[in-house]
Amino acid sequence: MPAVLAEGLVKRFGETEALRGVDLEIERAKVLGVLGPNGAGKTTTVRILTTLLKPDAGRAILDGIDVVAEPQRARARIGLTGQYAAVDERLSGLENLEHVGRLFHLGTAVAKDRARELIERFGLVDAGHRVVNGYSGGMRRRLDIAMSLIARPSVLFLDEPTTGLDPRSRQDVWELIEELVCGGTTTLLTTQYLEEADRLADEIVVIDRGMVIARGTADELKRQIGGDQVEVILEDPADASRVIELVACHTCGESHLDGGDGRTVVMPVTSLDGMVPKVVRDLDEAKIVVRDVGVRRSTLDDVFFALTGHAAENGENGEASDGEGGASADTQRVEEEAQLG
């Protein structure tokens, strides 16, 4: 049984449909990345799963507990780090931790012990007795995450944990989350940053306008839209058509000439494993002179663009770029797959 199972979650706010039937599943000790632009429905999903919001339809089961029917039991098993660092600025780091521990009914002594453990573990020992008001954004975020771990939750929810952090603090928080994840905490992580999902998540669901439009591992998603590419730059543009013929057996789509110079052949491939040596060998045997062979890995940015027709972190102007025929065809294919799955 998965640690978290959500089926057909629907949520309306007045006229707007924030969620239009979201399904998701998190296996125990895995990290699910929920990726989507602002307003896609990520936070609404988290709020439903953490009992803060009741869905209009659908159900959510956490550790075998229906979160709508038995919110209080579910709450004992979750840790929530919301979009804002929810720390009390007037208290010290230790006091903040103890406070949450007591509200989890751990008992004063246990709450104190856990607070000390976590403050050590999260590198805040020196600041532990200081009032949070003087903490940096990164320190607040670390304390915030520590607070959600105080009662050893079986599922941890991180809603955009690095939004608003400077690059250095973001790196810190990533390392922290990576460690937690290695330790086997089942985690749901929402993010607008493709890099973040790529780095931290075992599985990703892409949400746009209240619907899951794709799911899979980062690699699977990249593959779904044609994946990585090998670029061959030729000495003589006249060889181009011969090269396209030659590499046809390696590609997963149509190779094509790219750029104005007429000497760059771009070939989409499903996997880059051993691809460059193979291509070089074939070209060598055919005595074709090559200036350079390079690879271009597709990023989740590309995936997002191909799936939604608009760039990530920029959810508002979705209609802007439907021009690319190949991309929208791919979008459709993936959408169908998502619905079938």
């Binding site: 803060l52 929530l80 979009q83 330790g183």
Partner: protein
């Protein structure tokens, strides 16, 4: 330093979440403690909260005091100061709204709502801790009042009853403020929204002058203002006079406001979200 992440996050064995009135009290106390711990760390906040009422006492006694005459009281101070007491404790209820709005906007209420605690403890703890703050400012103000010549002429019992009534009334109003703080969502809005209506409420009353000196259309409003009733009851008790029906009507107002607005605030709380 030898703890590993494994140990930190492995799901613990868990009993069913404890419940019952004892836990409601404990959770409320835990929440109240969160605010009480912060009190001595911001002495300047408390200082400003005290300066204003002290200034009011001095201004009204020395600036307006000579010009204002009230029937039934030879000394204006004996009439005025219970009114200022009532106004001050009522004004202090606005701290509740500001505090609640701050917790809400910082996401603290979201976190608290995701914990297996008594949800109502958040607002109970908040309103309770605000009484403590109120008691501190009230004490300072009372000392200043004694210094300018105010005397308690009733019995100790009457004085205690009068003081209790003031705090009960202020407590009722802090539920109005809690509801407003949850509704407006930002600290700034809570601050001005919480204060604005309390000016007409406390001035169109018997706190500073006898309502019969007001224009005729305003008199019924001033006379039936619950704040007038509380002020009259308190004033009578401090001066050792019989409060009459004012005492019971004032208590009824306080009970009614508490019940209605605690329910409204609880409903708002259950659907609140950081904005």
């Amino acid at each position: 330093m030898t703890t590993t992440v494994d140990q930190l996050v492995a799901p613990a064995e868990r009993d069913e979440t404890p419940s019952g009135p004892v836990w409601l009290l404990r959770d409320s106390w835990t929440e109240a403690l969160r605010h009480l711990r912060a009190l001595p760390r911001n002495p300047e906040l408390l200082m400003f909260a005290t300066i204003q009422p002290v200034m009011f006492v001095l201004l009204f006694v020395y600036v307006f005091g000579g010009a204002i005459e009230v029937p039934g009281y030879s000394d204006y101070k004996q009439f005025l100061l219970p009114g200022i007491f009532a106004q001050t404790v009522l004004f202090n209820s606005s701290f509740t709204g500001v505090g609640v709005a701050e917790d809400l906007s910082k996401g603290i209420i979201d976190r608290l709502r995701s914990l297996p605690m008594y949800q109502s403890a958040v607002l109970i703890g908040r309103t309770m801790s605000d009484i403590v703050r109120n008691v501190i400012t009230f004490t300072v103000m009372l000392l200043v009042a004694f210094a300018v010549g105010f005397r308690i002429e009733g019995t100790i019992g009457e004085a205690i009853l009068a003081t209790w009534l003031l705090f009960f009334f202020s407590y009722a109003f802090s539920w109005i403020q809690a509801w407003m703080g949850l509704s407006v969502g930002s600290v700034e809005a809570a601050n001005s929204a919480g204060f604005m209506w309390m000016f007409p409420l406390t001035f169109v009353s018997s706190a500073f002058v006898d309502p019969s000196t007001m224009p005729e259309w305003l008199q019924p409003i001033a006379r039936n203002n619950p704040f007038t009733i509380v002020t009259n009851a308190t004033r009578a008790l401090y001066n050792g006079r019989p409060p009459g029906s004012d005492l019971w009507v004032a208590i009824a107002w306080a009970v009614g406001i508490t019940v209605v607005f605690a329910l409204l605030a609880a409903r708002k709380f259950a659907s609140s979200a950081a904005k």
